[in-house]
Amino acid sequence: MSIVSISNLSKTYADGFQALKNVDLEIRRGEILALLGPNGAGKTTLISIICGIVNASSGAVTVDGYDSVKDYRITRELIGLVPQELALGAFEKVWDSLCFSRGLFAKKPDPAYLEKVLKDLALWDKRKAILMELSGGMKRRVLIAKALVHEPRVLFLDEPTAGVDVELRKDMWALVEQLRQAGVTIILTTHYIEEAEAIADRVGVINRGELLLVDDKHALMHKLGKRQLEIELVSPVAALPASLADFSLEISRDGNILTYTYDPHKADTGIDKLMKTIATAGFTIKDMNTVKSSLEDIFVNLIKGNGEDAA
């Protein structure tokens, strides 16, 4: 059974802007789901509704079977949220800030657990530091700690690695994996494709308030991924004979490599015919290589399609 279930969710802001359009999404227990979409796609709006910060215009969200509006006390206790912005107080100490968070979520103080969370996030040395004095990376980790101190079952990370350097990004991914091992379901939003590709089990693509698709990461690449065949020739060619025109080949600048793009799931990929035509044309093949398109290419194609539909 899914742990978060979103049905027919729409949101129109007070100014009339529709930020979400009939979104349906089932989030599976224990998975890492990446919501991928450009800025303004509606990722933060979607998360904010689930967490109770924004009211939905229509539709419903359930968490562990409980309605997020009617049974908000139960659902919110199950959820932790790390917001996109570094929204933190200025003059508080890290430790006090965590105690505040835990109390807000109706949990009685538990210094031992707080200590564990701080240590896991390499913040234990900073427990007495004033929030204002922390670096951006540390503030981000404090926000994560605040989201974890009430022991949530579902964690939302809204663009956890935006503006974070490569080193910290890797740390973040390791942390996410560690949390998943501990049984926490994780939903993260990102506009970095590599991020989704690196850590997610499933990827949802969202654009202009619409959830375009949600699928297993590998299946998604398999389903939508085009494959490319790179053919290296012994001697370069300047132009292609008319017999090869149908294959829409690309020629590399030095004329050594021909690239053929095909759909690997079709019964007839066209490769056989291409080989025969090349042989007939009198070219000599030196080497061949197939390349899978990345999530990035898939994403760009999807968004392009979506944009044209809307226009």
């Binding site: 109770g52 929204a87 835990r102 109706a106």
Partner: protein, 253 residues
Amino acid sequence: MNIYAIRVIYKYEMKRAFETLGQSFASPVLSTVLYFVVFGSAIGSRIDAVGEVSYGLFIVPGLIMLAILTQSVANASFGIFFPRFTGQIYEVLSAPISFIEIIIGYVGAAATKSLLIAIIILLTASFFVEIHIAHPVWMLAFLLLTCISFSLFGFIIGLWAKDFENLQIIPLLVITPLVFLGGSFYSINMLPPFWQTVSLFNPVVYLISGFRWSFFEAADVSVGLSLFVVVLFLTACLLIVWWMFKTGYRLKQ
């Protein structure tokens, strides 16, 4: 009831006050002392007793009201405005906490601070004049009702305010004039008849009058009327807050 949440919000707000001890408590005490020097001693020595009460003593309840009205509004409005301003409010909104609990936490803390300020001012005043309170229970009741209702009012301003300028404008343009013209330093009866009538439209007159009655048994308007106006104001604030939360006004899109 999420008791833990109320407790941490309340504690957080109280801590803020004690960390800025000077600003929170010393400044009301200082201004009280200044008022005493200026009005009580310098001018007061040339003013006759008001009824049977010496002028120095007469202004004590008014001074307390002046302080708690402005402090309640300032504290409560800032308390909720600041997390909205920094974005920290997301945490409260995403927590398993009801609007009533949020109010109890924030408004309760602001009202407590005002109550402490009232007690401090009363103690400070007792160094200048001999204080006697005719109806301590009524005094406390007026004090509590005022602290709570004006903290609620401040909370409303803190929710309504879009920026720091908004936050200052109501206290500056509404509260301060109403309090100064509300009889903190004089009895309404000292005014010409026309201004007496005008004063009756100032709700603060009823507050100060009722509060003063609990000290000296002398009042500008009847105690019952005073009590009625305070309760009316409290009810109005409660209704506004209830509406704000029901509609998610300025808190939830």
